[in-house]
Amino acid sequence: MANNRWARINEADKVIQIVEVGDDISNPASWLQSIYKTSNTFVQVPGNSAVVGPTFSYGIVGGPNVFAELQPYSTWTSSTTDNVLTWVPPVAVPTKITNEQDPDPSGVDYDLFVWDNDNIRWLNGLGQYWDADNSNWVDI
């Protein structure tokens, strides 16, 4: 029996809870309102995406049926897929840690770098910023 993910939306149009509901429930939105005795609305998460969670807004940013993550930084821009909006930095996440060290070209780890929102650039914690045009690190 498959489950579907439903988002509980409060009066401020914020997601406050994700609930998995079995597909044997015929009208999950009404059923959830009934058991929780609430006027909060319940909306199925598009594609049952596990990305959507508490702090997302619903219908405020990006369109009437869009789940939107909080904007982490003022310079990041939105990207919407299947009514789920996330935020993308204006400079792509670096693909290596230093010019000499490229340990894992198949992966990118956001946690290795710090976003400098004032100067719109990535820092590596070694006194360098990421030059995305040339894909290398430059001393500050």
């Binding site: 029996m1 489950n3 993910r5 809870q17 994700i18 609930v19 998995e20 509901v21 079995g22 044997d24 429930i25 959830l32 058991i35 929780y36 596990a50 990305v51 959507v52 969670g53 508490p54 702090t55 997302f56 993550e69 909080l70 904007q71 982490p72 930084y73 996330t86 935020w87 840690i97 230093t98 060290q101 340990p103 894992d104 070209p105 198949s106 992966g107 990118v108 780890d109 956001y110 946690d111 290795l112 770098f113 710090v114 976003w115 820092l123 590596n124 914690g125 070694l126």
Partner: protein, 300 residues
């Protein structure tokens, strides 16, 4: 008679309350570079104070796990009666512009720490948040440099996540501190079903660098972290559903969904209905165990 109380009379008739042992496991936290914390785990079995369910329809909430994003990642809480188990903390941190709690590494069991870039260590996620006694989980492990720490394990016997290694690298400057990802903390075993099972293991931390290994998930459904992309067994794992395991350290590993089990005398079973159908009952000796895999109701 034991097992129930008579609570008042109304137009709809009386509701005989049900006293039940409980095992309530929240969802694990999502894994970032470090592993997510296991879901908070609270239980009365064996020998603890039972909960009293006294409504015609008692809502049983099973926490759902989510993937870690820039502003999201903590596991969902599980609730039965007056008992709430808190979701596991997210592995790593993230942008500070996000709301503290929902971005938090703190939780039922704490997520592993973040470095926020090389040479910038920050604290680990704390477990047993909010605090209860006995504790519902342990803290995560540190991420001292690049290798991620393991998430903490849930429950009173949950183990703390192990810190990622920081092995000196004099021949490889400036990386003076690479190593293996830390294993997730083990969860806590319980036999409310009649046989022992472990829940709420923490997720393992990632390794990233060639030649080093990711941390294994803690016992109880913690997901394994990822190692170097070209190495063996590099794939990371989500936390296990139904166990509240923390997600393995990498990117995007979801915490496992939680579970709720209620144990009551089988003599009481004829007046108990659970819904929806994806939730189940089984017997063990003289008792019935209702298992909630998804949010539902226990009606009296």
């Amino acid at each position: 008679m034991f097992g129930y109380k008579v609570l008042g009379f109304g137009a709809g008739g009386s509701v005989k309350a049900l006293d039940a042992d409980y095992l309530i496991v929240a969802a694990g936290g999502g894994g970032g570079g470090s592993g997510g914390g296991g879901g908070g785990m609270r239980t009365s079995f064996p020998g603890g104070t039972k909960i009293t369910l006294d409504k015609a329809a008692n809502v049983i909430t099973v926490g759902a796990g989510v993937s870690p994003g820039t502003c999201v990642g903590a596991g969902g809480c599980s609730v039965a009666g007056i008992i709430t188990s808190a979701g596991g903390g997210k592995g790593d941190g993230g942008p500070t512009a996000c709301t503290p709690r929902t971005n938090s590494r703190d939780g039922g069991a704490g997520g592993g720490g973040t470095s926020n870039g090389p040479s910038q260590p920050t604290p680990v996620g704390q477990g047993n948040v909010p605090p209860v006694s006995p504790p519902q989980g342990a803290q995560g492990g540190a991420k001292p440099y690049i290798a991620g720490g393991g998430g903490g394990g849930g429950g009173a016997s949950g183990g703390a996540g192990t810190a990622g290694q920081a092995v000196p690298q004099p021949s490889n400057p400036p990386f003076n501190g690479l190593g293996n990802g830390g294993p997730g903390g083990g969860g806590t075993s319980n036999s409310i079903t009649g046989s022992g099972q472990t829940f709420a293991g923490g997720g393992g931390g990632f390794a990233y660098w060639p030649g080093y290994n990711a941390g294994n998930g803690g016992s109880g459904g913690g997901g394994k972290g990822s190692s170097h992309g070209s190495g063996p067994n590099q794939q990371s794992q989500d936390g296990s559903d139904g166990q509240g395991g923390g997600g393995g350290g990498s990117q995007g590993n979801r915490g496992g969904n939680g579970i709720v089990m209620l144990r009551y005398p089988t003599a009481c079973a004829p007046r108990v209905t659970i819904a929806p159908g994806s939730n189940t009952t089984a017997t063990s000796g003289c008792c019935t165990i209702a298992t909630f895999n998804v949010t539902g109701t226990l009606s009296l």
